[in-house]
Amino acid sequence: MLNYSVKRLLLLVPVFLAVSVVIFMIIHLVPGDPIDNMIQIGSSPEQRAVLIARYGLDQPLLLQYAVWLRNLFTGDLGDAIILRRPVLELIAENLPHSLRLGGLAFIFSTAVGIATGALAAVFKDSWIDRGVMALILLGSTLPSFWLGLLMILLFAVQLEWFPVSGARTWTALVLPVLTIGLHGVALVSRVTRAAMLDVGRRDFVLMLHAKGLSHRRIQLQHVLRHALLPVVTILSLRIGWIVGGAVTIEFVFARPGLGSLLITSLAQRDYPVVQGCLLMLAMAVMLGTLLGDMVQAAMDPRVRDSLK
């Protein structure tokens, strides 16, 4: 397991470098001079010179990238043009909100998804199964931001149970978590249901029936346990998608967070902030996937062997 973990961690290095090159290049690929994209309008030549020295903008591109990377590791992500503050500060302010939202949405979709998927499999072809399947169809086809707006209309505007937007109270988390969660629940419960039905056809299940165990006990103690493996696989594959969901939903509910910060900065062309946010979000995807792979390897020796 240690062997696998080390190898899997090392695999992260080229991935991180590739992603960081793309994000680094943003400021050079957008039309116009990189300095104009990094500095406030009407800055003095001295201020320009400071910036050129700081990022080595008169140096070859490869060297500039090295400098940028070094600054990155010392925590220097540059300064925001519009907000006139260090990007790192802005990210530190917004990150906890995103983590809270993403983490809760992840827990919600995993727990509720496995529960509904297992229910649908245990009571296959009953009204419970049909209800879960309808929920899955709804959750996987409706655009998430529209779902969010519908929730706002129903629960915040009409019923006034929850606040419309913002992040002042914990109740403000309920609707965003539900919105991201419904998509997650749809995915997880579809996989759980399919895996349980698949495992249920295997010989050892027949054996358990022959031993005289009750249907419910077989399903919950034996079948569900085996079926969790594909669920963990799909979760580790699609974990990045919680990050994508959080970006969209933060904006819909006007919550503070990395997604909102990214989209506002994109519209204002505040490139240092855009770079910082994209980097953090990409890191979240990479670390999430890493964590998923580790859990999978801990559960399944075959996964551990795949990196030998």
Binding site: P143, W146, V247
Partner: protein
């Protein structure tokens, strides 16, 4: 007539879901193409004495904050959504197919690099990939198209590569090579025709996702710029009127939902009719 009955499309139309979905899609497409004749009002005529009006006989889906007819803007918005989604996915399918076919057929270093890049992008959500490219290209109609086509590129390259890998060692390919056919001829005449169906169907299903992604970017204010209508942007300006005029959010939202659900139902029916569920899913 008998020839027609044997086609997959006929089998799709014969199921109630497939037939209904196709009918709805045709209706949406026709409304988009003939928008200036179908829509009751032009999309940009403002009437500041009738802003945020409830749905009525004059304005079936109400008016927005500038007194513009919501229904007309939805019909014109269908043009943006469908044009962006169809163009982006066509480009994405074509490019992805070329890359995937070359990688699957020739193998070697190119295959290894492409597989690494595809695996890398696989774990990233499409919306994040699209946002990176909107960041580079700046907001607008064309950058939305480019961003969406790049976001889905990996999916089609991966799918095509798998299809080609599955058939490239078949006897008929070997026979063609022994008869002196060049690589290009083999790929174009023998491999692609046998590999193309699942890719096209996957492209159809992705068009639904692309409509959602376009609407999401529009909702962020990074897509088509005003006053041109797009479903996402309409909902975005509707959120400011959420207490006054909820219909400005509901209308475009239902339009997206109807279009996307129809595409998914039709695509699913097509997969059933062609019996290619394993080939589309197993990647």
């Amino acid at each position: 007539m008998t020839a027609l009955r044997k086609t997959a499309l006929w089998r799709v139309v014969n199921t109630w879901r497939g037939g209904l979905a196709l009918a709805v899609l045709l209706l949406v497409a026709l409304a988009a193409v003939f928008a200036p004749w179908v829509a009751p009002y032009p999309y940009d005529i403002q009437n500041l004495s009738a802003t945020n009006k409830d749905p009525s006989m004059a304005h079936w889906l109400g008016t927005d904050e500038f007194g513009r007819d919501v229904l007309s803007r939805i019909i014109f918005g269908a043009r943006t959504s469908l044009a962006v989604a169809l163009t982006a996915i066509s480009v994405s399918v074509t490019l992805g197919m070329c890359l995937g076919a070359a990688a699957g057929y020739f193998g070697g270093l190119f295959d290894r690099v492409l597989t690494a890049v595809v695996d890398l992008t696989w774990s990233f959500p499409e919306v994040l990939i699209a946002l990176i490219f909107v960041a580079i290209l700046g907001p607008g109609l064309y950058s939305t198209m480019v961003a969406i086509s790049i976001a889905y590129l990996a999916q089609f390259a991966r799918l095509t590569r798998a299809q080609i890998m599955a058939i490239k060692n078949e006897t008929y390919v070997e026979a063609a090579a022994n008869l002196g056919s060049g690589h290009f001829h083999i790929l174009l005449r023998h491999l692609l025709p046998n590999a193309i169906t699942p890719v096209i169907v996957a492209g159809m299903l992705a068009t639904g996702d692309a409509i959602i992604l376009e609407a999401t970017l529009g909702f962020f204010g990074l897509g088509v710029q005003p006053p041109k209508p797009s479903w996402g942007a309409m909902m975005s300006s509707g959120t400011a009127q959420i207490f006054l005029a909820p219909w400005t959010i509901l209308g475009p939202g239902f339009a997206i939902a109807i279009a996307v659900v129809s595409i998914n139902l039709f695509g699913d029916a097509l997969i059933e009719a062609l019996d290619i569920r394993n080939r589309v899913r197993d990647v």
